[in-house]
């Protein structure tokens, strides 16, 4: 086995075949459900695109512009944050924690708040696009910056060069493929963020068009918009992939890091430092929260501080009623998010394994996966629910679709990073593909899988609340959207707090699991 079959390699025939099958399936589905006003077939969509071409083009341009600016800002922020984390390892936990909390803020709730802050214009669209992007890139960068062979770092040091050279010559180069993967995952997210931003009151854009089309029972237009958005996101995905290949990600180096058993830190000491970190993080979040409200001089009518949320949930006479309302909705949301999350992760990782063991299948299936993922959830959520019913299945499917693709992309990238010498060794011993998978590729995939499992936590909550808001009218999503009619901003801010804390907790849980596994399989990723 001399050439590595990369799943992203251009192989036109199977892709073409897959596309034909997909389009045929789509048309059949549309024809079968013609009287349901749910699906429009590819022919009808082409017709709508042809008819409204210039309108779609103008609107795409507007949304794309907000998405691109936000994407850029988000990625610059990610690079800065990763730089800080790497340069000041003591601060890394805190930086990561803060970055995570802000990434976990639910769009449904932050959108209107951003609109009030920015006023008319594209401020909320850009901000949401940036918020949707920065964290995934940051995480990918962190993984990449650490995926460096110790011998290279030794080499830099033996030349008497410092951390800066180490960063530029070794770590930055090593992180490039991961950075590209982060960009690829972030592109559709930025587009989605821009569209959700338009829901808070915009003059024009694809988001505006999609609301109009959905309410107007204009199924062709809804699907034409979804197709356009998907095409744009997919194009961005390929563009960054191509860029990555141009920048030449060479064969990955063999990483042999020693297991960091080291002097084992006592359990109590570890819990102690964890507690201190937690307190620091909470203080930092509260500081940023209060600082933003005071610094931007926001009106107390809608900008609620920590003390308001505390009163609403704890000290107020009506607190028990408030909590009951909030947590009923919360459990409703969580009971749909977690199954969707697990299904999405399993599908993503499972498909990645399948694609790596069956490379021919890979080039056929991947475009379908990308297309599916790139259709923005705001247009698909109502359609999914209409097609799959208002029960749990619809929402769970939406959550799973939302996160399965980033997982797939990350896992594939991780497995491609399996060091060539290791694979050569397996070939030499005529190991079966399954042995190679179990002992070489899966361990290589583990860091990427866990990184995406962590990133998927907020995405899953985002998908569930969006589906609830736009389609099923239940749970936290609907409760938060209600604020528009009730002006109950205490409830809205409390919902934000509950969702952000939940996402952070689940994230931490995944992280603990990850540390255990990586301890064995990829200990270069562990820095203590």
């Amino acid at each position: 086995m001399t050439t590595r079959t990369a799943p992203f390699s251009p192989n036109a025939l199977p892709t073409l075949f897959a596309a034909c099958v997909l389009i045929a399936l789509w048309q059949a589905l549309a024809s079968a459900t013609a009287d349901m006003f749910v699906f429009a077939g590819p022919l009808a969509v082409l017709g709508a695109i042809a008819e409204e071409g210039s309108l779609l083009l103008r609107s795409s341009g507007i949304t794309l512009q907000s998405a691109a600016i936000g994407f850029f800002i988000g990625n610059v922020a990610a690079i800065l944050l990763a730089g800080i984390a790497l340069a000041l390892p003591r601060l890394e936990q805190l930086v990561s924690g803060l970055a995570l909390v802000f990434f976990c803020l639910p769009f449904v709730a932050t959108g209107p708040i951003l609109r009030v802050i920015f006023g008319v214009g594209d401020g909320p669209q850009i901000t949401l696009a940036a918020l949707a992007t920065y964290y995934t890139t940051y995480l990918c960068l962190l993984v990449g910056l650490r995926a460096t062979p110790g011998s290279w770092l030794d080499l830099v040091r033996s030349y008497g060069r410092g951390r800066l050279s180490e960063l530029i010559h070794v770590r930055a180069m090593a992180s490039l493929p991961y950075f590209i993967a982060g960009l690829q995952i972030g592109a559709p997210a930025a587009f989605l963020g821009a569209m959700v931003g338009e829901f808070t009151g915009a003059e024009r854009g694809l988001g505006v068009l999609s609301i109009r089309a959905m309410r107007g029972l204009d199924v062709e237009m809804t699907w034409a918009i979804a197709t356009t958005a998907a095409a744009l996101s997919a194009a961005a995905f390929w563009l960054f992939g191509w860029l990555g290949r141009c920048l030449g990600a060479g064969p990955p180096p063999l990483l042999l890091a020693s297991r960091q058993d080291g002097p084992s830190v006592g359990m109590t000491a570890r819990t102690g430092s964890g507690l201190i970190y937690l307190i620091l993080l909470i203080l930092a979040v509260l500081g940023v929260w209060i600082g933003l409200i005071k610094g931007l001089n926001l009106s107390p009518f809608f900008a609620k501080g920590p003390q308001d949320v505390w009163a609403f949930l704890v000290s107020d006479p009506a607190a028990a009623t408030n909590r009951a309302a909030l947590f009923t909705a919360f459990w409703q949301t969580l009971s749909l998010t977690i199954p969707g999350y697990l299904v999405g992760l399993a599908l993503g990782a499972g498909l990645a394994v399948l694609l790596v063991t069956q490379p021919r299948l890979a080039s056929a299936t991947l475009p379908i996966a990308i297309a599916l993922r790139s259709i923005p959830i705001v247009t698909t959520a109502p359609l999914f629910v209409l097609a799959l019913g208002r029960g749990a299945v619809g929402t769970i499917t939406i959550v799973a679709v939302m996160i399965f693709f980033p997982t797939l992309a990350a896992c594939l990238e991780g497995m491609r990073r399996t060091p060539r010498p290791v694979l050569d060794l397996f070939s030499t011993y005529a190991a079966s593909p399954w042995q190679r998978l179990a002992h070489a590729q899966l361990p290589a995939m583990a860091p990427a899988f866990f990184a995406s499992a962590r990133m998927a936590v907020p995405s899953a909550l985002l998908a569930a609340t969006t589906a609830e808001w736009l389609a099923t009218g239940t749970g936290m999503g609907s409760l938060m959207a209600l604020t528009a009619s009730t002006s109950n901003y205490n409830l809205l801010w409390s919902a934000i707090v509950v969702l952000a804390v939940t996402a952070s907790l689940i994230y931490a849980l995944v992280h603990i699991l990850e540390q255990r596994v990586l301890h064995t399989f990829a200990s270069e990723q562990l820095v203590q």
Partner: protein
């Protein structure tokens, strides 16, 4: 292109003409045109046609106001924009405004565009809902958030709400068309219009005809503006009144104007024309014929307070302030 090219003479003439006009309008001489904003409650559509007419025909600029029409959306806040002063006036509704007031917003309703609440129960002709009693045993598709609305309708008409199955749906006619529900709670002017344009006839029961009295598309302003920016408020509302009177005279022209002013909204003319036509009877009544657009009386306010109480909103008639309208129509 040459069509719009002004010769120097006509340019000067137009300029002098404007100056001449200005001489009759003391406000314009006193100050440059002032930027104010009207926060709409939804995306641009003929729903706000009267405001577009006021803007395009210069009813506001004559009075020295440069009015921005800020669009709303499904996740767009109206009340905070007014509270923070981003918008001088917002388009809200009596139930939303009273909720905001309970949360401490210093609001008044200074005019009522929709005299009749636009909520309807829409159904298909083969399975029609003509009276509230017909709802029993039916599946209704609606946002759960609107449960109090249905509850109020049931209470007013002595219908047991437990006999109705509520199916949470998104705001779109597809569940009704796909027979997932028997009826929908929606606005007279959107989903039934969308269905009609798609060739699907529907039966609508206007809730306002069955005792549900909640002013909709109301103009809200803060107490601070009412005290300190009266002239601007009067000028804004005067423009609105003129715009909506023009709208009533020619709803089709308003539809065409909407498309012309907002070409990127994905609107189509037949839908906008039908929507405009169906909107007129909700906005104009004997009351407005007698007193002018936007009017309300102690009696209609009392009916509102009563219905709002059923919605769980405790408000007093103080929420309504007619002084601006009285100056406009006086």
């Amino acid at each position: 292109m040459t069509m719009f090219k002004l010769s120097r003479r006509s340019f000067v003439g137009a300029g002098l003409g404007t100056l001449g006009l200005a001489a009759f309008s003391p406000r314009l001489l006193a100050q440059d045109s002032k930027d104010v904003a009207l926060q709409l409650s939804w995306l641009h559509s003929v729903q706000f046609g009267g405001s577009y007419i006021a803007k395009s025909k210069g009813y506001w600029s004559e009075a020295g106001l440069n009015v921005a029409l800020n669009p709303g959306g499904p996740n767009a806040p109206v009340d905070p924009a007014v509270v923070t002063g981003q918008a001088l006036i917002g388009i809200s509704a009596a139930d939303y405004a009273s909720a905001s007031v309970e949360q401490g917003a210093p609001f008044k309703i200074i005019g009522v565009a929709m005299q009749k609440n636009p909520f309807v129960i829409a159904s298909l002709p083969e399975n029609p809902i003509n009276t509230p009693a017909d709802l029993v045993g039916k599946k209704i598709g609606m946002a759960l958030a609107n449960t109090p609305v249905l509850q109020a309708l049931c209470t007013i008409n002595n219908v047991d709400i437990n006999g109705i199955e509520i199916v949470p749906t998104q705001y779109d006619a597809a569940p009704l068309v796909a027979n997932q529900v028997d009826c929908l709670l929606c606005w007279q002017t959107d989903l039934p219009v969308a269905m009609a344009i798609q060739g699907i006839e529907s039966v609508t029961m206007l809730m306002a005809d069955h005792g549900y009295a909640v002013h909709s598309q109301t103009y809200i302003a803060t107490e601070d503006s009412l005290a300190n920016r009266r002239a601007d408020l009067v000028a804004m509302m005067a423009g609105e009144v003129r715009g909506w009177n023009d709208f009533r005279a020619d709803p089709k022209a308003a539809a065409a104007l909407t498309l012309e002013m907002y070409p990127d909204q994905g609107l189509d003319l037949p839908t906008q024309e039908l929507q405009a036509e169906r909107q007129v009877p909700l906005m104009f009544s004997e009351l407005t014929d007698a007193n002018g657009f936007g009017w309300f009386t102690d009696e209609t306010v009392a009916q509102n307070v009563e219905t709002l109480a059923l919605l769980g909103r405790s408000v007093t008639p103080d929420l309504w302030d007619r002084s601006i309208l009285e100056e406009v129509h006086g």
